[in-house]
Every structure is written in C-alpha cells, then in structure tokens.
Amino acid sequence: MATPVLRVRDLHVTYQSSLGAVPAVRGVDIEIARGETLGLAGESGCGKSTLAMALLRLVSPTTQITGSVLLAGKDTLTMKPGELRAVRWAQASIVFQGAQHVLNPVQRIGRQIDEATEAHGGARATGTAELLELVGLGVRRADDYPHELSGGQKQRALIAMALACDPLLIVADEPTTALDVMIQAQILQLLEEIKRERGLSMLFITHDLSVLSHTADRVAIMYAGRVIEVGAGKDLLRDSQHPYSKALAASFPIIGDPSSRRQPRGLAGDPPNPIDLPSGCPFHPRCAVAIDTCRSVDVKLRSVGGAINRQVACVHFGDA
Amino acid sequence: MSESTGTTFRAMTWARRRTALSRVWRELRHDRPGFIGLLLLSGFGLFALSAPLIADRSSLLVASGRNNPDLAAPSIKFLLGTDEIGRDVLAQLVWGSRVSLFIGLFATVVAVVIGSVVGLAAGYTKGKVSAVLLAIDDFFLVVPFLPLAIVLAVVLGRSPVTLSIVIGVTSWAGSARLIRAQVLTLSERAYVERARALGASSWHVIVRHVLPGVAPLIIANATLIVPSAILTESTLSFLGFGDRLSPSWGKLLEGAQSSGSITLNAWWYYLPPGLCIIGIVLAFTLLGRSLERIFDPRLRGR
C-alpha cells in the first residue's frame, strides 16, 4: 500500500486554561489514503476541531501536542517553523466555517486568495480568477469584501482559497454548518466534485452525521477526545455498534432509510467536561447499556468480528 | 411577603454580596498591578490622614514663612526645604494631599452621579428622550475638556468645591456611554424582562434589577475617573485656578514654576508634588484597571 496522505498516531492535544490543563484530544490514530474522504463526527466539544487545528500546529503556543502527524510521510509536529510554514496550505489546507469571521473583513476576497499562493512562491496551476469560476462565484467577486458576500458565497470563496496551492489534503471543518439546507447540498456537491476531479484527500469534520452519508468513504466517531468507532462510511452509519454512535446516528434520519426515523432521537445528558472526565469509559454516565465494568475499564479501539475494517471501543463488542 | 421570608431574603442577598466581595478581594490579591495600586493608595491615604501629626495647619499661612529662609534646601528642620516665601514644603505637601484627594474624589462623585443617571436613562428609555440624552453625551464627549473646564471655571468661580463640580461636569460623558451599553445588554436578560412582564414599575426595575447589574462597572469606572480628575485638578491649578493658601499638589507645582525654582535648582520644591501626583494617579489607574478585569471577564489578559 502507498504511503497514506495523512497518518496520525497517538495524538494528544492538551491546552491550558485558567482552570487547569484541558485534554481535548486523548490518543487518536487516523489514516487517510490518497483520494479518500474520512468523515470525523461528534458533538461539539469532543475535540474534533482541536484535532484539525493540531494537524498543522495551529493551536496556541501554550498548547501541548504529542504523538505524530505524518503528512505525506513527514511529521508536522517536529518540523522547524520555516518547514511548517511551507507545508501549511501547500500540502494541507483548511475549508473553515464561513459563518465565522475566518475572512479578513478589510481585505478583498481576491487578495486573500492571492496571498496564499504568494506565501508559497506564487507558482500554481490555477489562477485566482479560474478558482472563483470553479467554485461558481465568478471573477467579479475577487474585488468584493467579505461583508458583500452571502453565507453560501463566503463558503465558496473559502473553498476557492483552500484550493489555491493545490494541496494533497483538504480539511473541511464544519463547512456546511449555519447554511440553509439548499445551500448546504450545493456546497457538499461542489466539494465532492472538486475532490473527485483533483484526486484530493479530505478530512470532513461535522457534528451532523447525515452530511457524511454522501461524502465519506470512511467515518470515525469521536467522543471525549477519542475515536470510539471507525468503519466504512455508509456501513457505519446504517449499522453503528457503539452505543454512542447509535444514539448519534439516530438523531439524524438517514435519507432513503425510513427505519431510521423510528429510532429514539437525541441523547440524555451533556457531553462530559474534558477537565473532569468520568472514570472508565467516559460515555458510561449517558450509556443505556452500561455495565459495572464500564465504570472502571476504558476499552481501546479494537476490531470487531464480521464487519470489514470496523473498529469499536466498547466492552460489548470485540474480543474481551 | 411575610416578614420572616423578607428577612431571609435580605439575609440571602447580604450573604451573596459578601461572597461576591470576598471573591473580588481574592482576585485582587492575585492581580499584581491591582494590588500594588491598592498598597500605594493606602500609603497615600495614611499620608493624608497623618497631616496634623506632620505639620500644623498654620504653617500654610503666609506669615509662617516670615522668619524662615526662602527656598532653603532640605534640613532637619524642614525635611523638604522651604518655598519662595519661607514656608515648609513638607507641610504644604501633606496638607495638599487632602486637597488633591478631596477634589479628585468629589469630582468623581459628581461625574459618576451625572454619568449614571444619564447612562441609565439613555439605556432604559427609548425614542426621543434617549436620542436627546445621547446627543448631549456626544457633545460632552467631543468638546475638548480642558478648554471647557477652563471656561466653566472662569465663569463659575475658582474655589475647590466649584473646581470639583466643573471637573465632574466635564468628565461624565464616557461613563454614561459605558453604562448605557451595559444597561442595553442587561435589559435583554431574562430576569429583567420577567420583572417588567410582571408589571414592575420602571423605577423598580432600574433600582432593583438594572442598577445592581451595572454597579460593578460603575465602581471600576469611578476608580478610573479619580486619577483623571486629579490630573485635571492639577492642570487647572497649574494654570492659575485654586487657592494658594490651601494648595493642592498642582498648585504647589504652579508655585514652583512661577517662583523660578527650576532655574534655581530648588528640586525639593517641584519634585515632591510632581512625584506625588504621578504616584496617586498611577495607584488609582492600576486599581481601576484591575477592578475592570475582575468585573468584566472579557477583559481578562489585558
């Protein structure tokens, strides 16, 4: 097998707060092959965005990152600042969530895209004008400021920006959150097309499992800073094993599967506080099928008999 | 409400205030700049209180310098030397601390009262009343405040009390603006809306629900008005307002300037009042900024 585009091993991210150290990501292993899309899902606060930021070391300098992040075979966590800058955007870029202030309000859209290529020597296959056409914005938008674009347009501009340096990997961090359903579908389709045409790999982060059913080749579910289930996309969504994945899948109807609508929705309780995680399996206080062992034992991710490539971190599944 | 529930309610309120106060104290102790400000301030407070122990008030009189050498360097008898008519500089400095502090604090009271009333009213009312109040606020915010204070002082009079009022009248606009913004955010809070929905009068809502919410802000803001009021007072005194027989620190600097103490190298005359002004202004500013940080978590890390 060829070197995966991204290979994350035992990643821990701990940031400092006034209340103490917050372990946001606690030992995550993921891999993304060339051309593959990995969907990463979980409730807000489960550490999925922190993980995304840690890949390119975009967390604050006081935050501690350990483990390894091999991007095209090189570990971003041990790179010197100059090397790291060269890798950022050129090998992996990020499609941020457009609803937030991720675009500089006082700089023109075109300028913000150009800036990315200039930072990497200026040479590239596609020009800014072409990129804007590609994402369906039109060249004229290059002279606009962010406040002159709608939410969907901003999201398109961000996609154009992410493509500016022809990266191997695109990290899409909640790219459709805060958009209405119609626009959401358009953006998803755009991402899918671009990915296919350019042979890109993608890490698609979302709290909304339903958007993954179309886009993700494989899906990883995160809870309290860990991946608790991983497997092939549609397979996992239809037939999740971990009680948390089940509950999460149940809260979003899968289009074309009427049975999913009849399942109980939502989850009792709140996600755990990362500073004060429950003992054993962090999910046990909210789990309907928890047994005594769950209070003391935190089961690692392990292969499950039957399903292909399925791994689950639950005492009820796999070899005890 | 029966009397006993009223009492427990009041007791609860007091208990809550006590915990809030102890929280502020705890955070202040760990905020180095704020704590330094507090210590400095206590030092100046003691200095002002000890005035009668250090020098008799009569040594401020012109006659008291008659038998002393003029502009004499510090000695055992005059720890900070004498001024151009032979009066003890230390005596003027220690009594002057009372004048400077009095004017600074009194002006702040005036500014805070006007600022709170205008701010609360502008935030709580709507339409024309609010627009007019805002226009007045804008006016006082834009008009250069020292020239304004000067013309007011020329017309209204030059006594310390008038000066305080003049300074207060020229310094409230910023706090009114701040308080209004805070009132606007508070009025959207559930408990205020609930009180209003239950039919509470505007006055009741303001006094019982809005005022307690803005009080911390007002306190922090007031702590920051004091230093600017003291600076303004010293500036006005330096320009000729104020009372030569009961001089503030600014007035002492004016005396030092006009008597030529600078060319005569009489540093004991101009350095102490100048350094005292820096010290007291610094103390209030450090404390005020620290209180702002404690009361408004958004400002953490400044």
């Binding site: 975009l58 800058r85 941020f96 | 405040f145 304004l148 013309v151 500036t235 100048g274 820096i278």
Partner: protein, 323 residues
C-alpha cells in the same frame, strides 16, 4: 466612500459646532450675568466708555437681541477686543496660531506614530518582556501631568546641559539669516514637542495595545497562519488593519487632551502660542479671548474627529462600500 456616510458626518460635525457656539453664548451671557464685571480696568472707565464697551460686546437689549448680535459676529469671526491688550481678538489669535499649529501638529504626528508602534508591538506579544516594560512605562507616562514633564526637561536637560533653550519661540533680538533662524526656531521647539509627545504617548499606546489584544482572538488570524504566512505578515496584513479601526475613533477623542496639553506645555516653556495666550487670558480674566479660544479649540477637535471619521471610512470597507 458612500455619499450617505459622508453627508451624515458633515451634518454631525456642523451640528456639534453649532451646539458649541450656542453653549458659548449660554455660558458667557446667561450663566455669567455681568461679563463686564470681570474687566479689571472697569473702575477707571467713564460712563461713555462703559457704554461703548457694552455695545461693542453685544450686551445690549434682550437676550434674544444679544443672541442675534452674537451669532452675526461669530459668523464674521469678530470676537471683540481683548480685555488685556485691547486689540481685536481675531488678530491676537491669528498672530499666535502658526506657532501652536506647528507644535501640536508635530507632536500629534509623533505621538500617533510612536504610540501606535509601541501599542501594536506590545499587544501582539502580550506578556512578553517588551509588553511588560512598555506597558509599565506607558502607565507612568499616562499618569504624569505633561507640564511636570516639561518642568523636569527644563530642570535636567535645558538647565543642566544647556543644550536647549529654556523657553520662547526664538532667540530674542538675534538674526542668524533665513536658514539660521529656521534652525533656531526648531531648536526652541524640541523640548516643548518632546513634552507634549511624551505626555500623550501613553494613552495612544494603551489604546492600540487593547485594540490589538482584542484582535488576537479573531478567526481570520488563524486563517492567515494556516495559509503559511509569517508571523510578521499575519500581524501587519491582518491584525493591524483591523486593530486600527477602533483605535481611530478613540485617538480622535483623545486629541482634545492634546489641545489641553498644549496649554500647559506652552506655559512651562513660555512658548508664545495660543496655549500661553489661554493661560494669560485666565490670569487676566480676559473673557473675549477665552470665548474665542474655547470656540477655536472645540472647532479644532470637531475637525479632527471629522477627519478621523473619514479615515475610518477609508479603512473599513463595511463603511466605505454600503449602498
């Protein structure tokens, strides 16, 4: 810039200026019932002279009559005669204006440049040694009355070293030729400029530092970093242009303080500009002078605020480009 924004700001400035003019009348003719009482030489006036003066000051008739006379004279820039010099106030002011304009202009420019630089650097590297040192220094600067600075400079630089003159606009009675005279004037300007600059550097630096710190948490800085920009580029292209916006308005408001600072600074250095004229007018109770100086100072601040609004409009596309 959108026309509506411009018109709104022009009207705003005009209204504030009118309010100042009305306030001036209110203060000097209504709060102060007998302005002439402040004229020191009044006891020596003959009855005719006294009446001439009352007529000249526009104190005849009803308050409404006085108001119309007052407005007309303000529009003609006729502020009467100085109690002190008995010369027309307008002439007294225009003669002193250039000196003050120069002092305030140079100092404001220096204060803005140096203050913004220090504030930017301190805010960007919050908690660094530069930040701690510069913030302590700016706090002390902020707490010092600028005239005390002036006195210290006089005592320890001009007095001890003799490198700089102790006051005035130029060496009285000397003629060094055109270039020489120019240098002489600059030489006299150094200490007052330093005084005024140091006096207000602190507040400008603190304003910019706060503004920078507020910008630090913005998402577009993460975007810029993710794009592979250098730290210095993230700061200069993304953080500074945004942090400048709130600073512009605050700096305009603090310009009023610089005007106040010019009054005391000129007094310390006997620099014969409008500030010294103000100090003299205070000690002579020279009401006509004070009125005009107050109007002029207010007009200057209103103008400066207006310019700041324009700059803001140019810096912020959200204001510039709205239909």
């Amino acid at each position: 810039m959108s026309r509506r924004y411009l018109i709104k700001k022009v009207i705003g400035a005009f209204l504030t200026l009118s309010a100042v003019v009305v306030f001036n009348f209110f203060l000097f003719r209504i709060v102060d019932r007998d302005p002439l009482a402040k004229y020191r030489g009044r006891s020596k006036l003959t009855i005719e002279q006294r009446e001439t003066m009352i007529r000249r000051m526009g104190l005849e008739g009803s308050k409404w009559d006085q108001f119309t006379v007052y407005i007309k004279s303000v529009l003609r820039l006729d502020f009467g005669r100085s109690f002190d010099s008995t010369q027309p106030v307008l002439g007294e002011i225009t003669a002193r204006l250039p000196a003050t304009l120069f002092l305030v202009g140079v100092s404001t420019l220096l204060t803005i440049c140096v203050g913004l630089y220090i504030g930017t650097k301190a805010g960007w590297r919050r908690g660094s040694r530069f930040d701690r040192t510069s913030t302590s220094a700016t706090m002390v600067l902020y707490s010092t009355p600028e005239f005390f600075f002036g006195m210290l400079l006089l005592a320890f630089i001009a007095g001890r070293t003799g490198w700089f003159p102790t006051g005035g606009l130029r060496d009285v009675g000397a003629d060094y030729g055109f270039v020489g005279n120019l240098i002489d004037r600059m030489h006299h300007l150094v200490l007052p400029t330093v005084t005024l600059t140091l006096g207000y550097l602190g507040s400008y630096a603190l304003i910019m530092r706060t503004s920078m710190i507020e910008t630090l948490g913005e998402d577009y800085l993460v975007t810029a970093r993710a794009k592979g920009l250098r730290d210095s580029e993230v700061m200069s292209r993304h953080a500074v242009p945004n942090a400048l916006l709130p600073s512009v308005s605050l700096i305009a408001i603090s310009f009023g303080f610089v005007i106040g600072g010019a009054i005391t600074t000129e007094t310390v250095f006997s620099y014969p500009g409008l500030g010294l004229a103000t100090a003299n007018a205070i000690s002579n109770n020279d009401l006509p002078m004070l009125q005009a100086l107050f109007l002029l100072a207010s007009a200057a601040v209103i103008l400066f605020n207006f310019i700041a609004d324009l700059v803001y409009g140019l810096l912020d596309p959200r204001v510039r480009r709205t239909e």
